[in-house]
């Protein structure tokens, strides 16, 4: 079993327990999924504060609407879809507010320049090569890197990429990254 399949399964079983009245199961579920939801919101281009708000409000919505999620097995997809929709809504609002106030475009809130944190040579090389990929590739790789080969149905829904093309998309992105890394002596597999 791959790591992500087990993440999806673990989330499903915790959510199932929660719905069956073991309310305490929400605790491990929140701890399991929150980091992934954060990375999803950030890969939609939200600022750090907005990403936090989105993660909070999606959890509130899940608890409020727990009974309307038809199959507990889809809880990861539900969370991912909700994070993406809510992230888009928030960034639309932000853009509208900027237009209204005639403010200059905010700087890209995606992860800041890697100089801010101490990265070793391999990480710097990885960052450089990743940054040269398309934004969609960067978002996809960011999300699937959370746990190896993903559950494609869940991921396709949460990233808005048709399920049939997510494998090939992942393949293309990963092949491109891998090729440029292998040609860079600064990068080393570890």
């Amino acid at each position: 079993m791959t790591e992500t399949t087990s993440l999806v399964k673990e989330a499903a079983s915790l959510f199932s327990e929660f719905r069956d009245g073991q309310r305490g199961s929400i605790d491990p579920l929140v701890r399991l999924m929150t980091p992934t939801m954060w990375h999803m919101a950030r890969s939609c281009g939200l600022s750090s504060g907005d990403a936090e708000d989105v993660v909070q409000s999606v959890w509130l919505a899940l608890v409020a609407k727990a009974d309307t999620v038809r199959d507990p097995a889809t809880v990861v997809a539900w969370l991912g879809t909700s994070v993406r929709r809510e992230s888009w809504r928030v960034s639309r609002e932000r853009r509208r507010a900027q237009l209204r106030n005639d403010l200059p475009e905010r700087p890209d809130p995606a992860p800041g320049p890697a100089e801010k944190v101490v990265l070793d040579e391999t990480q710097q090389a990885l960052w450089r090569h990743l940054s040269s990929l398309s934004p969609r590739c960067q978002a996809l790789l960011r999300v699937i890197s959370r746990g190896g080969p993903p559950d494609y149905a869940a991921l396709a829904q949460s990233l808005g990429i048709p399920v049939g093309s997510i494998g090939p998309t992942r393949g293309r992105c990963l092949v491109a990254l891998r090729r440029s890394l292998l040609n860079d002596p600064a990068w080393s597999p570890s």
């Binding site: 309310r23 929400i26 605790d27 929140v30 701890r31 929150t34 980091p35 954060w38 990375h39 950030r42 750090s48 936090e52 993660v55 909070q56 959890w59 509130l60 608890v63 409020a64 992860p111 800041g112 890697a114 801010k116 944190v117 990265l119 391999t122 990480q123 990885l126 960052w127 990743l130 790789l141 960011r142 699937i144 890197s145 959370r146 746990g147 190896g148 080969p149 494609y152 149905a153 399920v163 049939g164 494998g167 090939p168 992942r170 393949g171 990963l174 092949v175 990254l177 891998r178 890394l181 597999p189 570890s190």
Partner: protein, 156 residues
């Protein structure tokens, strides 16, 4: 599912993905305590508390400069009213509150910490050494079975 359509992943692919996960956790990690904050918000929501409203929406920020030490904010709900004001108190703030009733327990909540106070016969409440930042109040009604009341966040 459609796993058969996927390009095969080898050890190197998985290693690159592993490096990517570490990279994003280093460059842009989820804020420490985010999961705790989520759980705390969920526990407040589970109280099914009535949400109080700010009587004056313009007073979203309590000013605490010496020039205006007496700014007050009033929260109203169907059954209770809470008025609070803040003054400097050492490194933090002193929060004075008045609620419509004596012997009512009110929690001042900052982040995931809460400080409880009970109103005196005149409905007076006080908290000392409250850190600056976003706070909210949770009011417990004295009659059994009635809903607790939660205020929106205000910035101090």
């Amino acid at each position: 599912m459609n796993a058969s359509l996927d390009p095969p992943m080898d050890g190197l692919d998985e290693m690159i993905l592993g490096q990517l996960a570490c990279l994003f956790d280093a460059v842009d990690p989820p804020p420490a305590g985010l999961a705790d904050d989520v759980l705390f918000t969920l526990s407040l929501a589970a109280l099914d508390a009535e949400l109080a409203t700010l009587a004056d929406a313009s007073a979203l920020q309590l000013r605490t400069s010496a020039a205006s030490p007496s700014d007050t904010v009033t929260f109203t709900s169907s059954a209770l009213q809470l008025m609070v004001s803040a003054t400097p108190d050492g490194d933090g703030l002193r929060i004075d509150g008045w609620i419509t009733g004596g012997g009512l327990r009110v929690e001042l909540i900052a982040g995931t910490t809460s400080w409880s106070a009970t109103s005196d016969v005149n409905g007076r409440l006080v908290w000392h050494g409250v850190p600056h930042g976003a706070i909210r109040f949770l009011m417990h009604r004295d009659d059994e079975g009635s809903r607790t009341v939660l205020t929106p966040l205000i910035e101090l």
